[in-house]
């Protein structure tokens, strides 16, 4: 059983207007579960995911009491040890799928390379595995996509390639940053089915960053709601509609609904007090 614990995480950027605090002292844990993170655009969701894997680019600074994986503090590890964690135990699907793929290598070559890193296998064996992985994420034409370059993929195909690639090392933890935002609802359900299966059957821990409230509420177990670098509320996912924080309530109210048409969508009035309040603990 893998257990990730983040204690008092900060991410800061020096800017021309002083230090900008993108993540401000948040704490949470992740077990064998689907943990959703929702929240304001710019609230620090992606930076939280990246900080866990030490993927914050300079001049950004990360600090925390600890970020521990099964008791070992990731912050105390060497670059090499972290690379090993990244390649094998924790994977991340980035918010910009095409940007994270190598533009001058075909999809198939990149995916084969990831398989090869896991140990010696014959090329044809690996090739079959890659095609299978593409089929699993509902790619209609896996052999064409195998030979395609990233710019030849549609938005949603890029996202699915990224997901397939990040699942290759069979990670204990997957951090997925808006992994299905470019997928039609039908393909989205198939991809979620794969992730769900990994959580339920293999005990994978999943951090699922998303703006889709109804999806998070039906797919996840727990949800952290972030605002201005902090966690303002933690909910049981299927009780998200009963959330009490005014920001979360506001989010729920601004959703367009297919069944009840509105002339105008409700917008939020943001209270400066929300940014000042202490972070809520997401430790379970």
């Amino acid at each position: 059983m893998t257990w990730l614990e983040v204690d008092n995480l900060w991410v800061k950027f020096p800017t021309r207007n002083g230090i900008f605090e993108a993540v401000r002292g948040i704490s949470f844990s992740l077990g064998e579960e689907r943990l959703g993170i929702v929240g304001e655009s710019g609230a620090g969701k992606s930076m939280t995911g990246r900080a866990i894997l030490q993927l914050i680019r300079k001049p950004g600074q990360v600090s925390a009491n600890h970020i521990s994986l099964d008791g070992d503090d990731l912050l105390k590890m060497s670059k090499q040890e972290i690379r090993k964690i990244r390649g094998q135990r924790i994977s991340m699907v980035m918010q910009d799928p095409k940007f994270s793929l190598n533009p001058v290598m075909t999809v198939g070559e990149q995916m084969m390379e990831s398989y090869m890193l896991l140990g010696k296998k014959s090329r044809s064996e690996v090739r079959n595995k890659v095609v299978e992985a593409l089929e699993a994420v509902a790619i209609r034409d896996p052999s064409r996509v195998f030979n395609a370059y990233p710019h030849e993929l549609s938005g949603g195909m890029g996202q699915r390639v990224m997901i397939a690639m990040m699942l290759i090392p069979d990670p204990d933890i997957l951090i997925a940053d808006e992994p299905t935002s470019a997928l039609d609802v039908s393909v989205q359900m198939q991809v979620l089915g794969i992730l769900d299966k990994l959580v339920q059957e293999r005990g994978m821990g999943l951090i699922f960053i998303s703006h889709d409230l109804s999806l998070v509420s039906s797919f996840c177990d727990r949800v952290l709601i972030m605002y201005a670098g902090r966690i303002v509320e933690v909910c049981v996912a299927d009780k998200l509609h009963e959330a009490t924080h005014p920001y979360t309530r506001g989010l729920l109210k601004s959703l367009p609904r297919l069944d009840t048409p509105q002339e105008r969508l409700a917008v939020l009035t943001r209270d400066p007090e929300w940014a000042r309040a202490e972070s809520v603990s997401g430790v379970k």
């Binding site: 800017t15 064998e32 910009d96 095409k98 940007f99 030849e152 470019a182 339920q200 039906s218 969508l265």
Partner: protein, 259 residues
């Protein structure tokens, strides 16, 4: 008056080994001032239609007309004053070494606007970004902030037609509500025409009166929002899509346990 008219449009890509027929025999008529939705399977050719309209794909046949003007191989600057597009992938659409200020001022100058300073402030404010974002570079922005910069840039030339490819998919729903309200206001005030791609059927339902459903390069059905709301489409794929939109159903229920 017609906004966008597409007749027998085919768009293809010639790969090393095979040809990809991304859009096949497509017909579409969008009147001026209408907001039209395009939904469908991932990879079905939605972005390709928008990109063909803006002149980004040379390999097409058929007919495309915009505000009564038939489009040829090349697009003029006047075309881009009239037609703007918000790309699906905002990162690729923004030049990595240009600040938000450079990006917007260039677009404004190119189309001959004066008062550039004031306009930039207004544009940023419109998309909910404060003045502190003006001198940021794309890598210093979150996904949703980038998307809002891309929307601001598309609005900058005050176009008559907006091609919107998943314009709000990277935005939290409160910012999404603000942007959708803004787009609605602009359309009403200036009779703008929108062609909008989205996977979020509720968003399309809110913004559009009619939608086309695409699968494998073809439009399989054009329906009204009322039909969509009643979950009463004709084509089996449209029905499947609508059913999938009702939320995730767990294969088996299991309460996660603390170790």
């Amino acid at each position: 008056m017609s906004g966008i008219v597409i007749k027998n449009l085919n768009v293809w890509f010639d790969g090393a080994e095979e040809r990809v027929n991304a859009v096949k025999n497509t017909n579409l008529k969008i009147v001026q001032g209408e907001s039209f939705g395009l939904v469908g399977e991932s990879g079905s050719g939605k972005s390709t239609i928008l990109r063909a309209l803006t002149g980004l794909i040379p390999t097409w046949s058929g007919e495309m007309n915009v505000t009564g003007e038939r489009l040829g191989r090349h697009r003029t600057r006047q075309f881009y004053k009239k037609v703007q597009m918000v790309f699906q992938d905002p990162y690729a659409a923004l030049h990595p070494r240009h600040s938000v200020d450079q990006l917007l001022s260039e677009t404004l100058r190119l189309h001959g606007f004066s008062n550039v300073d004031r306009r930039i402030e207004k544009l940023l404010d419109n998309v909910g970004l404060g003045p502190t974002f003006r001198f940021r570079y794309p890598h210093q922005l979150s996904g949703g902030q980038r998307q809002r910069v891309a929307i601001a840039r598309a609005l900058a030339p005050e176009p008559e037609i907006l091609l919107l490819d998943e314009p709000t998919s990277a935005l939290d729903v409160s910012v999404q509500a603000e942007i959708l309200n803004l787009l609605d206001d602009l359309r009403r005030a200036h009779k703008l025409t929108y062609l909008m791609v989205s996977h979020d059927l509720a968003v399309v339902g809110h913004m559009c009166k009619r939608i086309a459903v695409m699968q494998m390069g073809e439009i399989v059905e054009i329906m009204t929002i009322e039909q969509m709301r009643d979950l009463n489409p004709q084509h089996p794929y449209s029905r499947h899509l609508l059913e999938s939109s009702l939320g995730y159903k767990r294969q088996k229920e299991q309460v996660p346990q603390k170790p």
